[in-house]
Structures are given as structure tokens and as C-alpha cells.
Symmetry: none
Subunit: 502 residues, 2 copies
């Protein structure tokens, strides 16, 4: 068949172009990591210019008319399922780069930068008055952007917002799922809090290097390869770098080691996903992760389903005791029993990032209701403090009146224009529970394996169901293929089993 | 004068283009630093692709026909002295980018990366057999490149090699200067070794963090700004990063602190040069350093002329004693007297980077003779182990037979394709001695200032003579302007004064 080699000529050219884009994207990612972890303050202006130049080149590569021609030409080419999905993802990137007018893109970027920078200062000062107009500007420009995206994709405004972060997720699904959660979470939370056993506070001095050694050892156990990744320190913990060079950061607090450790294990979930994406598709859009709901499902699978389980704590207890024997005030606070109580402690609080898995969905439902109203124009920025307070009282029985820094000013997402991101956290938690429930059905001895520090069956299962799948399916289709349609039930059963039956 | 704004239109376009090139070059530099200091081994293939892509884009920017047109158009424009020099440096970069066929350039880059990465492993294994073919490939491709450069510049092959690193340096000058050194160094070395006072070995355990704190304190004293730079660890110490983000690396040995400290102070000399290049010309070719002989003169000025002087040792002795009081076995080995003897200790050895300033030129003469032969085709790669041994015996009375890791495998330069670099070290040493001699004439109290830890006059002098000059003159012209024609005499006097008269 002489024509085979030219059959997919347009597609082949696209693959080449996107490989180039990915290589430059890798460079950007490492420079971004460096900026957060390594860069001295005095070079930030020069670094910004460097990154802006790289970003310009990437935009030019994405906006080229030849790329548009090739995308159109692939319609007539014979492509397999993954190649088709790859073209779909290429088109998504091309549209994002070309639909938004350069001027709007620039204004929005500037507004976000200004709002984020002010937020770092104003949040600490609890200064809503000066913050509100900056957020208003970000919202206005974001709505303009979403209108363009929504019109092109024939979606509602908030659907277009969701689509940017969790492809395929729709408002009606969020409504239904969050409605179910609202139905049972308040009673369940009350019951859990009533029956919760008190824990002993773990007091002592925990040196950063000992914390780091323990974290690295457990990362490796879970499958993180230090041949293709690092663990470092930064002000805001994150998982960055590239698929072949995954870089986790954390912060160490010498008075308390479990938050940092659980944070590292959470980021390890993100890292394992990145590290195990299909290498055959490295550099191609379809080889990249499926979106933020699935990404959060991988971090929450590791943190919530695996590492905060009684079995995992029993597995690590001896190492924890050995690591901190000399530093802890009362050695018996490091018993598996007490460690489990600490990592499974439930408490209503103001701050989302400090919340446990039982109260976390309430934080997200609140943000979803507010950001949907903001995006749809039914809620005004100036109403946020009072609406936040009202909803916090209804959902968690806490008032944030006059304490906006612990209320509507606590998150960086809206200042950064990331309307539509928040649902990914709770969908991630539900998907994680559903995956773990399916894993238990497929590998009945998995909890005993966790107790033994044996993670290979678990890894193989996630690799086949999620990691190897890249983004050839959208969020809900991937869940469906792996475990059946997404349901709240496994998450509910997980909470009941962990917090009521022990 | 209505025509003023367009008078230099071509030149202005060139400045803009070279600013873009510099920003991407900065990105490359940080990624290069990351590769040596941070990158996990498993991502080296992906990193290579990322760097190759960036390099391709830089090449495309340099190879554009509009750039050639603009370079030609500047001939008719009214430019000042520095702008003219900037155009000259732009043309040098344009030629380097266009003369070399893209395919040869790519092959050479990949061969160097492969050879360098293998070298890191094979050197430790003393594995010449696997290393030789990789080096052979680098040499072959380098010679192809040099033939093209030489033909264009009407230079000999080895002159073209020198020109890449130390503009204006020529083989005949190297021959003459190295001839003079060969004339007096053997006798002088013998005499110095005979009259050398023995020192007491400084024994103890010197923790890396204490070494690092001391190094950072002295770096700052010499003028290094940690607002625009870092100190880190790497296998092979270097000074990298960018002008606004200068990154020094070192290695710490817990049994011995002076090698690392002197290494850091050496790199600080490089760093001060980079940090103090003319900011008005940031991103322009003429604002960059003048070449490697001048660069090495700045590091050797700091290390050899300043920091290994008796005056500097007297200045730091108290801090050294305080830092290591608890760790040193015999406190009196940290006396200024003994510290001076240690940092001025002369000994014939295998390793260039460990060599003192008296025997160092012999290491360079050996490499110069070999690399000139390799480049000119009169020496084959396979002959290196035996020729190295032969020349080491002749120059320093040491045999490297069967110990290639301490012989012809010790340096990264040839694996990296940097044939023509080595003479820069010894020219740097000569220039450093000549500069210090001129500084003493201009600032007679400078040695007393060093003893007091007072470096501002010294910094101001170097800033005016060297740092602020960028590359608007070539190597020997810059030396000439600063201190008169380059001569071996100040270096010889320096050695006699330091090693024979004390």
C-alpha cells in the first residue's frame, strides 16, 4: 500500500509540532519550579522576561495557520482511536490559543497578576474593601473570556468554566452530585463528631532532615522513582516539573510532622499519575493527564484512601517511632492507635486546605454555589462576605462575619481567574473512593497488602485503569470505563466504614 | 533632525532581536545549571530534547535573513563605538550560527551531551575503552565545525578553536608565551620545592553546613550579592546561571575545607565579573564577558592574587578558627602562619583542578600540545593515554599509565567539544598577575586593605578596568588598555615574590 505513508501526513506534522511544543513546555515547567524553589529574589524581573519570551514562542507555535490547515486535513485521514483523541486535544489547545483576542488575554493576565499580588498582602490584613474591586475586574474579564469559549463550544457559561479544568464535567452533574452530598453530609458529620475518640497530641521537636528521610522512604515505597523526580522545599507545596522529572515540594514544621508527611504523600499521588502516563505518547496532548478532577482523584486516592487508612498507619508506625524516638516528648503518642486517630481526626474549621475529608466537601459546595453565581451574573462580588458567612453557618455552623481572611479571601483560585476549578477537589474525592472500592473488589487482599507495605498490585491496578489512559477519554468517561458510572455511594460507604464502624 | 529616529533603525531592530535571544539564552543557562545540580538522572534524555529544541529556536532566530540584511544595513548607520562593537559581536554570533550547517550543529550537540553524560560515569570507572569512541565522535564533528570557521575567518584550525573562547588570541602568541613559561618554570618549580617550608596537616571533621556558612560570608565580603545569585553543590564545581542570577557550585569534603573554600572564592571571581557587567547593555552581545581568558583572569585574580595571599589569610584566620574550633584536631594548625603555608603549598600532582599556581601552567601546556594535535589531525584519540603519560613524565615527572581517570579522562572540556579552551586558564593567570601588579601601582595600600577585609578600592578598580568593559575590546586589547601589553614578567615576579622571598 504505497499511499500508507502519506495517508496521515497532516497528522504526522501535527505530532511533530506538538512534540516541539511539549519540549518547550517542559523547559517552562522546570523554570517555573526553579522560580518557586531556587531563584534568588533579585532576578525575578529578568526571569519574567525569559518566561514571557518562551510563552510567546509557544503561542506562536500554537497560533500558526499551518496548524489550523493540518487540523482540518486530519478529517480526511485514517486515524485510530487514540490518534483521533489526540487531534481532539490538539484542537482544544489551538482554540484556547486563538479564540481569545490577544488584548483580552493580556488584560486578563495583568488583572490576575495584580489581584494575586494584592491578595498576598490584603488577605493578611483582612482588607476586603481594597480587594473587592481587583476581584471584580478579574471576574469581568473572566466572564468575557468564558462567553467566547461558551459560544464556541455551545455550552453554558459555567459549563465552559468547568470544561477548562475537568473536561466533560457539566453543571447538571455537579448539581446532582452536590445535592446528594448535601442530603447526607450534615447528619453524618454530626454523628462522626459525636462518636469520635479523642487523640493524644504528639509533642516534640522533629528535625527537617529526619522528616525528609522518612518522606522519601515512603514516597519510594508507593512507587515514586527518584531516578525521575525530586523532593524539595517551597513556601507553597506543589507538584511540578515534567512527566520525566516530577518535582514535589513541601514545608517542614519542626513542631509537627504529620501535616507535611501527609502533604508529601498527597503530592506523591499526583506525581505517580504524571510519572506513569503512557510513555509512547510522551509529548502528545493525548498522553497528558485527563484534567484536574482525575488528577485530584489520584492524590486523594493516595492520601485519603491509602495513607490515612489504619492499615497504612500500622505499616509505617515502626518507622515513625524509630525516626522520632529521640525527639518525641511521650513515646506512646506515636502508637499506631494514636497515629490513626490523629490522621483521621475530624473537625469543622474555617480553612479549606486544613479540612479533613468529611468536612472538605462542604467547603467545596459553598465555593461552587458562589462561583457559579458569580460567573452567571446572579451574585455580585460585593455580596461575597455576607453570602460566605451565611453558607458557612448553614454548612458547617461557623460564622465568618468580619473575618474575611478566613472566609472569602482564603483561596488563591478566584484572584487567579480559576473559576470552575473547585468542583475538581470533591469530584476527585468521590472518584478516589469509587476507584478504591473497585480495587477492593478486584484485589480483595489489598488492605492487608497495604498493612504489609506491599503496593505492587495497587500500582498495577491504577496503571491499567487510570495512569496509562492519558486523556483519550474525558473525566466521566474515564471513570465509567474504569469502574462504572460515577456515584456518591462509594464515598459515603468509605466515610461510614472509616469513621463510624471502627 | 527628522531623520534621527530612523537613522539607526536596522541597529535598533538588531538590539531587539538580540534581547529575545538573550532571554532564551538565560533560560538555557538555568536549565543547564539545573541539569548539573538538580536533575534526576532518569530525565536526561527528555532534558536533552528540551535543550535541543531551545537551541534550535535560538539558531533560527540567529539564522534569519532579516538579521543578515540588518547587519548589512548598519554599515550606513551612524553608530557610536560600543554600538559598532555590538554589531561586530552580533556578526560573530550570526556567522557561527549560519556557517555551521544545522545538521552538523545538531549532531555535534548530541554527541557532546552523550559524551559528557557518559564521562560522568566512565571516569569514575577508569573506563577509557568505552569513553574513547564517544570522544572520537566529538572530535570528528568538532573538526568539521572548525574547518568551516577557519575557512571563513582565514585562520588556521587551532586559531579558529582559540578564537571561539578567547577572541583575538592566536596560536603564535600561545606558542611564544608558553615557550617563555617552559623556559623558566622547571627551574623555578624545583627551587620553590626545595625551599618550601613544611606545613602541619589540618586534621578534623568539617561539617558541610559550617563550610558553607563560612564560604557564603567571604563571598559576600568580596562583593557577591545573594539577591542575584546562589551557592550550591555539584559534582564538577562551576559558575553558571545568568548575569542577574549567578550560580556558583562547589563540593564539600568533610575531612578538608580549604580546597572547597578556595574553589568557591575562585568561582566568586567569575561571578563578580558576570554580576558587574554593564547593566545598560544587558542582553546585548557587547554587554557580555570578553571571553574565557579574561574570565579566568577574574577568577584567578580573586583566588591566586587575593585569597591565597598572606594578607587575606590573616584577614580570615579568626573566622576560620571560630568556625572550626570544635572540629579541628589541633587548633594551632589553624594559625595564619600554617594556613598560609597550606594554601600556598606547591606539589606536583596528577589533577589539574587540584594544582597550585606554580605547577598549573604545566598541566595547561600538556593539554594545549595535545588538543592542538587533535584539532590539526596530527594526534589520534587512541594515542591520548600514552601521550598524556609521556608528557606528564616530561613536565611533572609523574606517570599516568593505566590511571586514565587521573590522566586524559580527568577533564570535561574535550567531552564537551571545548577544544581551544585550555590556554585561557594560563593566559588568565598571567593577566591576573599583570592586573594585580597594576592595581598595586594605582592603589599602593591594597595589600593592607586586603588584610583589613576592605575590598571596595579593589572592586572599583576591577569594575573600571574590566567588569564595565563588556566585550567592546578583544582579549589582548582589553589587557593592553587596562595595563599595557601582556607579558609573562608580572606572573614570574609574583611567583618569585610569593614563593622565594618569604
Amino acid at each position: 500500500m504505497l499511499h500508507t505513508s502519506t495517508d496521515t501526513a497532516a497528522y504526522q506534522r501535527l505530532e511533530k509540532r506538538f512534540s516541539r511544543i511539549a519540549r518547550l513546555g517542559d523547559a517552562q515547567s522546570i523554570l517555573g519550579w526553579d522560580e518557586a524553589v531556587m531563584m534568588p529574589a533579585g532576578s525575578s524581573a529578568a526571569r519574567n522576561e525569559s518566561l514571557a519570551e518562551l510563552s510567546q514562542i509557544l503561542q506562536d507555535l500554537l497560533r500558526s495557520p499551518e496548524l489550523a490547515d493540518d487540523l482540518a486535513a486530519t478529517e480526511a485521514e485514517t486515524l485510530n482511536d487514540w490518534q483521533r483523541a489526540n487531534v481532539r486535544e490538539m484542537r482544544r489547545r489551538y482554540k484556547r490559543a486563538t479564540l481569545i483576542p490577544a488584548d483580552l488575554h493580556r488584560q486578563l493576565m495583568m488583572a490576575c497578576m495584580e489581584c494575586e499580588q494584592a491578595w498576598r498582602r490584603l488577605r493578611g490584613e483582612n482588607n476586603w474593601t481594597d480587594f473587592a474591586p481587583l476581584l471584580q475586574r478579574v471576574l469581568e474579564l473572566s466572564r468575557e473570556e468564558l462567553k467566547i469559549l461558551a459560544a464556541d463550544q455551545k455550552l453554558s457559561l459555567y459549563d465552559a468554566a468547568l470544561e477548562r479544568f475537568s473536561p466533560g464535567l457539566r453543571t447538571e452533574v455537579v448539581e446532582r452530585i452536590f445535592g446528594e452530598l448535601r442530603g447526607f453530609l450534615p447528619d453524618l458529620t454530626r454523628e462522626i463528631l459525636q462518636r469520635q475518640q479523642p487523640h493524644e497530641k504528639i509533642e516534640g521537636e522533629f528535625p527537617a532532615d529526619v522528616q525528609k528521610a522518612l518522606a522519601k522512604q515512603l514516597m519510594q515505597k508507593l512507587g515514586f522513582s527518584f531516578e525521575n523526580g525530586r523532593l524539595d522545599e517551597s513556601h507553597h507545596p506543589f507538584c511540578g516539573g515534567t512527566q520525566r522529572d516530577v518535582r514535589i515540594t513541601t514545608r517542614y514544621n519542626s513542631n509537627e510532622f504529620l501535616s507535611s508527611l501527609m502533604g508529601v504523600l498527597h503530592e506523591t499521588g499526583h506525581a505517580l499519575y504524571e510519572m506513569n502516563l503512557p510513555l509512547d505518547w510522551y509529548g502528545q496532548p493525548v498522553g497528558q493527564s485527563c484534567g484536574m478532577a482525575i488528577h485530584e482523584s489520584q492524590s486523594l486516592f493516595m492520601e485519603m484512601q491509602v495513607c490515612r487508612s489504619r492499615e497504612f498507619v500500622e505499616y509505617i508506625a515502626a518507622d515513625v517511632q524509630r525516626s522520632f524516638a529521640a525527639q518525641v516528648r511521650q513515646p506512646d503518642t506515636l502508637s499506631a492507635e494514636n497515629l490513626t486517630r490523629v490522621v483521621q481526626h475530624v473537625e469543622r474549621g474555617y480553612i479549606r486546605v486544613d479540612a479533613d475529608e468529611v468536612t472538605y466537601p462542604s467547603h467545596i459546595i459553598l465555593r461552587y454555589e458562589l462561583e457559579r453565581g458569580l460567573v452567571e451574573g446572579t451574585i455580585q462580588v460585593k455580596e461575597l462576605p455576607s453570602l460566605w458567612d451565611e453558607k458557612m453557618q448553614a454548612l458547617l455552623g461557623l460564622s465568618t462575619l468580619g473575618r474575611d481572611k478566613e472566609g472569602c479571601m482564603q483561596d488563591v483560585h478566584w484572584p487567579g481567574g480559576a473559576f470552575g476549578y473547585f468542583p475538581a477537589y470533591t469530584f476527585g474525592a468521590l472518584i478516589a473512593a469509587q476507584l478504591f472500592s473497585a480495587l477492593r473488589a478486584d484485589v480483595p487482599q489489598v488492605r492487608e497488602q497495604i498493612r504489609q507495605g506491599e503496593f505492587s498490585a495497587l500500582q498495577a491496578w491504577l496503571r491499567s485503569k487510570i495512569w496509562s489512559q492519558g486523556s483519550h477519554l474525558d473525566t466521566l468517561a474515564l471513570v465509567q470505563q474504569a469502574t462504572g458510572p460515577l456515584s456518591v455511594a462509594p464515598f459515603r460507604r468509605h466515610l461510614e466504614e472509616r469513621y463510624l464502624k471502627s
